[in-house]
C-alpha cells in the first residue's frame, strides 16, 4: 500500500514539474514586466505558445540530418527525467535512489551536448557561434556545479538529494560558511545554465550577444516547442534543487498521509513563487555582461565551490 502510494506520488511529481514549468516561466516574465511598469503577458502565455508551436508544421533545412530531428526529443526527455528526480514536495519516493546529484548533472550535460550537436548540424554560422559559446560556459559551469555537489555530499555523507534534504532538516547542521559559499556558487551556476541575464538574455535576438537563442534559431514547430519546454523545465529544476537543499522546510517524507503531501505541495509552490520573484528582481537590477566576462563570472563560481570544499576540511577537524 505504502509502495503504491509512493509510486502514485512519484508519478504525480513527474506530471507536476511538467505542468508547473511553463507557469513558472510565465510568472518570472510577468514579474519582470511589472517591475519595468509594463503590463506583461498573462501567466498562461507560455502554455499558449507551446500549444501553438505544437500545431504548426516543422520546417527543416535541406542540410539537416537525423541528428537535428532526433535531438529535441532527447533533450526534452533527459531534462524532464532530471527535473522529475529532484524531490520537489516529497522525498524518499520510488525513484529516490536514482535522484543522485551527479546523475542530474550528467543528464543535463548530455542534454546540452545534444543541443550543441544539433546546432552545429545545419551548418549555419549562428548555430556554430551558439554552440561554441555554450561549450565555453559549460566547461566552467559544470566543474563549479560539481564542486558544490562535492561540498554538499561531504557534509551529508551522500550524493542523494533525499538524504541531503533530510540532513539539512536535521539538527547536526550548525552555522557553516561552506554552505553559504555553496549556495552562492549554485545560484551563479543556475543563472549561467538557464541563460538568465548577466550571462545571456532569454528575450534577445541580437546576433552578437545571444547564446541559447543562437543554437535554436533553425528550429520550428513541435521541435521548437519541445526545446522551449525543456528550457522551462531546466529553470524549474534549478529552483527546485536550491529549494530542496537550502530551504528544505516542509518537504513531506515517505509514508506521511495525503494531507501532508498536499501541505508540502502548497509550501513548494510558495517556495517557487518566492524564488521566481527574487530571480526577476535580480535580473531587472543587473546589466548583461560581455560574453568574454562570463569566464570571470563562472570562474568566481568555481572558486566559491573550491573554497567551500576546502573550508569544509578545516571544520571537519573540529
Amino acid at each position: 500500500m505504502a509502495v503504491a502510494l509512493d509510486a502514485v506520488v512519484q508519478l504525480g511529481q513527474l506530471l507536476l514539474v511538467l505542468a508547473l514549468a511553463p507557469l513558472l516561466t510565465g510568472y518570472v516574465r510577468r514579474v519582470k514586466a511589472r517591475l519595468l511598469r509594463r503590463q506583461g503577458p498573462p501567466l498562461i502565455q507560455p502554455y499558449r505558445d507551446l500549444y501553438r508551436l505544437l500545431r504548426k508544421e516543422v520546417v527543416l533545412a535541406h542540410t539537416a540530418s537525423w541528428v537535428f530531428r532526433v535531438a529535441p526529443y532527447l533533450i526534452f526527455a533527459t531534462t524532464w527525467v532530471a527535473a522529475a528526480l529532484v524531490p520537489t514536495f516529497a522525498s524518499g519516493l520510488v525513484f529516490s535512489y536514482a535522484a543522485d546529484m551527479i546523475a542530474i548533472v550528467a543528464l543535463l550535460g548530455s542534454a546540452r551536448f545534444m543541443l550543441a550537436l544539433a546546432a552545429l548540424d545545419v551548418g549555419t554560422s549562428f548555430g556554430g557561434i551558439g554552440s561554441s559559446r555554450e561549450m565555453m560556459i559549460a566547461s566552467l559551469a559544470e566543474p563549479a556545479m560539481l564542486m558544490v555537489v562535492f561540498t554538499l555530499s561531504l557534509l551529508a555523507g551522500s550524493t542523494q538529494l533525499s538524504s541531503i534534504a533530510a540532513f539539512m532538516q536535521g539538527p547536526g547542521i550548525g552555522l557553516r560558511v561552506s554552505l553559504a559559499l555553496a549556495l552562492v556558487g549554485l545560484i551563479m551556476v543556475a543563472i549561467a545554465e538557464n541563460a538568465r541575464i548577466p550571462v545571456d538574455n532569454p528575450t534577445t535576438h541580437l546576433e552578437l550577444t545571444m547564446v541559447h537563442e543562437a543554437m535554436i534559431l533553425e528550429y520550428s514547430g513541435r521541435h521548437l516547442a519541445l526545446i522551449e519546454a525543456a528550457s522551462h523545465l531546466k529553470l524549474l529544476l534549478y529552483l527546485s534543487v536550491v529549494a530542496c537543499v537550502f530551504v528544505p522546510l516542509g518537504i513531506a517524507a515517505s509514508g506521511q498521509g495525503p494531507t501532508a503531501y498536499l501541505a508540502a505541495l502548497a509550501v513548494y509552490v510558495a517556495k517557487l513563487a518566492a524564488g521566481g520573484f527574487l530571480l526577476a528582481v535580480f535580473e531587472t537590477a543587473i546589466a548583461k555582461m560581455r560574453v568574454f566576462r562570463v569566464s570571470d563570472f563562472l570562474g568566481a563560481a568555481l572558486m566559491l565551490g573550491f573554497l567551500a570544499t576546502l573550508l569544509l576540511f578545516v571544520s571537519r577537524v573540529a
Binding site: G174, L175, R176, V177, S178, A180, L181, S295, D296, G299, A300, M303, F306, L307, L310, L311, F313, V314, S315, V317, A318
Partner: protein, 220 residues
C-alpha cells in the same frame, strides 16, 4: 552553545578569507577601497566575537581600534588619496583574474595543509584561526605581487596586517600594548606611503610601479 560559538568564529574567519578573494577579484580603485573597509569590518567582528567567547575584555579594545582605524579612517584617507591622484574611476588592468584566483585557492590549500598538522596540540579554535590567518596573509602577499598599481599594493599590505590580527587573537594572550603599537605603526605607514605615492606621481605622472623598474634599468 560551545558548538555554536565555534561555528560563528569559523564563519567570521572563513568570511575574512572570502573577502580577501573579493579583493583579488575587484579591479576598480574605489571598489578595492570599499572592500578593504569590509575586510577590516569582518576582522573587528571576528575579534569582538573572540573577546566574547574567550572572556577577554581587552580584545574589545583591539576590535574597536580595528573598526575605527582600519574600517573608517584608512578607507576615508585612501578615498581622498585616489581622488586627488585622479585614479578613482580607473579600472586597473589586472592580468589573468582566473589565474590569480587559482593561485589563491592553491595558497589556501597550502596554508590549511601546513597549519593543521603542526598545530595538532592546540585547541580547535586556535588551529582554525591560524590556518585562516595564514591564508589571509598569503592572499595579501599575492595581491601585492599581482598588482601594478601602488595603491592596490598598499591595500594588499594592510590586508596582511588584518591576517596577523586574526592569528594573534586566535592564540590567547596577546598584550594590548602590542596591538596598539601595531595599529599606530600601520597609521604611520599609511602616511608615509601616502607621501610616497604623491612623490612617485610627481616623478612619473603615474602610480604604475613598473615605471620604477624601468627607472632602475631593469627589464619589466
Amino acid at each position: 552553545m560551545d558548538q555554536l560559538a565555534l561555528d560563528v568564529a569559523h564563519m567570521f574567519a572563513g568570511g575574512l578569507v572570502l573577502v580577501s578573494f573579493m579583493l583579488l577579484y575587484q579591479d576598480r580603485m574605489s571598489g578595492i577601497v570599499n572592500i578593504f573597509a569590509l575586510h577590516a569590518l569582518v576582522v573587528s567582528l571576528s575579534v569582538a566575537w573572540q573577546a566574547y567567547i574567550q572572556l577577554a575584555p581587552h580584545l574589545y579594545i583591539t576590535a574597536t581600534i580595528a573598526l575605527v582605524v582600519k574600517a573608517i579612517v584608512i578607507p576615508v584617507a585612501l578615498h581622498r588619496i585616489i581622488v586627488r591622484l585622479g585614479i578613482h574611476r580607473t579600472i586597473e588592468p589586472v592580468v589573468g583574474v582566473g589565474l590569480t584566483m587559482l593561485a589563491g585557492i592553491g595558497l589556501v590549500a597550502l596554508s590549511i595543509m601546513v597549519m593543521l598538522p603542526i598545530t595538532a596540540e592546540a585547541g580547535t579554535l586556535a588551529r582554525e584561526d591560524l590556518a585562516f590567518a595564514l591564508s589571509v596573509i598569503l592572499l595579501g602577499l599575492l595581491m601585492m605581487i599581482s598588482r601594478r598599481n601602488a595603491v592596490s599594493q598598499v591595500i594588499g599590505f594592510m590586508s596582511i596586517e588584518n591576517g596577523l590580527i586574526l592569528a594573534a587573537t586566535g592564540a590567547k594572550g596577546m598584550p594590548l600594548v602590542v596591538e596598539i603599537s601595531v595599529a599606530f605603526s600601520i597609521l604611520i605607514a599609511l602616511i608615509v606611503i601616502g607621501i610616497f605615492l604623491f612623490r612617485i606621481r610627481e616623478r612619473f605622472d603615474s602610480v604604475d610601479i613598473h615605471l620604477l623598474h624601468e627607472h632602475r634599468g631593469e627589464q619589466p
